[in-house]
């Protein structure tokens, strides 16, 4: 198939059809932050840090570059004024959940921390651990429950006991991929494998106050 021609930050580049803007742009030397994207996993589109401005026929729109395939004749701006502003706001939201976020990134985008209400539960719901466990390892130890702000990641104890030892401490462990590093830092309590509770499923995220975990929609004995 013929190559597709497009512009990235004003520079002409070519790419294979089906290439995502993120990859094309990175190849062209652009720096685009990402959190929920991991090679080998289906693009997920959750963190939205990778947004770029796309101009086609004079019309501009914001798209997630990890999911948008290259198109003939488009102009892609990876650091336009809008993109920078939006990334700043997104980082601001993320920082409220995850205080350990990369400070260099906060500085680069001049993020004004402190405006948002604290939501220190550390997990940013990038879903990498869940997707890694089900898509790649096909073990289904981890999963999402709930929706909206109540959404969380849980590990199913029975399956954890059975399957986590298969990955634990190896290259394939989900702990190695968690971008927040929280599971790793706090492995003794967070790693599904090191759990011996009798509960059917346990949230893997940490919260500053335990009551906050009481999910609006009762999870029963989950």
């Amino acid at each position: 198939m013929s190559e597709i021609k497009l512009k990235i930050n004003g520079e002409e580049v070519t790419a294979e059809p089906g290439t995502m803007l993120l990859d094309a742009a990175r190849k062209a030397g652009a720096e685009i932050p990402t959190l929920c994207n991991l090679e080998g996993l289906e693009p997920f589109g959750a963190c939205r840090l990778c947004v770029v401005e796309l101009i086609r026929g004079g019309r501009s729109r914001i798209v997630a570059s990890c999911l948008y395939p290259v198109e003939e004749g488009i102009d892609v701006l990876t650091e336009s004024e809008k993109v920078v502003r939006y990334r700043r706001n997104i980082l601001e939201l993320l920082e409220a959940r995850w205080p350990l976020i990369d400070k260099a990134l906060l500085e680069k985008y001049k993020v004004n921390t402190g405006r948002m209400a604290r939501r220190d539960n550390f997990c940013i719901m990038c879903g990498i651990c869940v997707r890694h466990c089900s898509e790649r390892r096909k073990l289904n130890v981890l999963g999402f429950v709930g929706r909206g702000i109540e959404r969380q990641v849980v590990s199913y104890t029975m399956r954890a006991k059975e399957f986590c030892p298969e990955c634990f401490d190896k290259e394939l462990s989900c702990l190695k991929f968690c971008p927040t590093g929280v599971i790793v830092n706090d492995c003794a309590t967070r790693c599904p494998a090191s759990r011996d509770e009798e509960a059917f499923a346990k949230p893997i995220r940490v919260r500053d106050d335990d009551n906050a975990i009481a999910v609006k929609k009762s999870l029963g004995d989950l």
Partner: protein, 152 residues
């Protein structure tokens, strides 16, 4: 126990034992048992060869599914927009106070469940609630108490 799972099997077969029918199957199970007990979900997981994490993702995503037993009597307070501007928040508070449970909860004796719904199509009566099958238009605490007392 066997009887219970047999009933589940019947539901599963009625939907062609297909993974695609999972939501429809769970809806029927919810109707049959008024909630989704864990053993039943594990059974469904095996029968349809769907991992348990997937099933719980579904059942906690859709509002209609309940993972705890529901009361024998259901109280539904409408939180639709029309009812909201006519004072649904206060109606919910009143009901919650009378029943002694919060929205989404079931009383300890499993007599009542209190839930919120969106637009019952009875906006003319707003703020409105349904106690079992009876519509109550802007009931006072006294009205709600009377209704609750009349429940077995």
């Amino acid at each position: 126990m066997l009887g219970k799972l047999a009933a589940v099997d019947k539901i599963i077969e009625a939907h062609g034992s297909e993974r695609e029918g999972l939501i429809q199957i769970l809806l029927d199970i919810q109707r049959e048992f008024r909630w989704l007990p864990k053993d039943i979900l594990e059974h469904v997981s095996k029968r349809l060869d769907v991992p348990i994490n997937y099933i719980y993702n579904l059942t906690t995503f859709y509002a209609h599914f309940s993972l705890v037993p529901k009361g024998r009597h259901s109280m539904h307070v409408c939180m639709g927009t029309a009812c909201h501007v006519r004072g649904a928040e206060r109606l919910l508070e009143r009901t919650s106070k009378v029943l002694g449970i919060k929205p989404g909860q079931t009383s300890r004796d499993e007599k009542f469940s209190l839930d919120t719904v969106n637009c019952l199509g009875a906006c003319a009566l707003g703020p409105v609630m349904i106690a079992d099958d009876e519509y109550l238009s802007n009931p006072t605490m006294e009205d709600i108490r009377r209704k609750a007392d009349s429940c077995e």
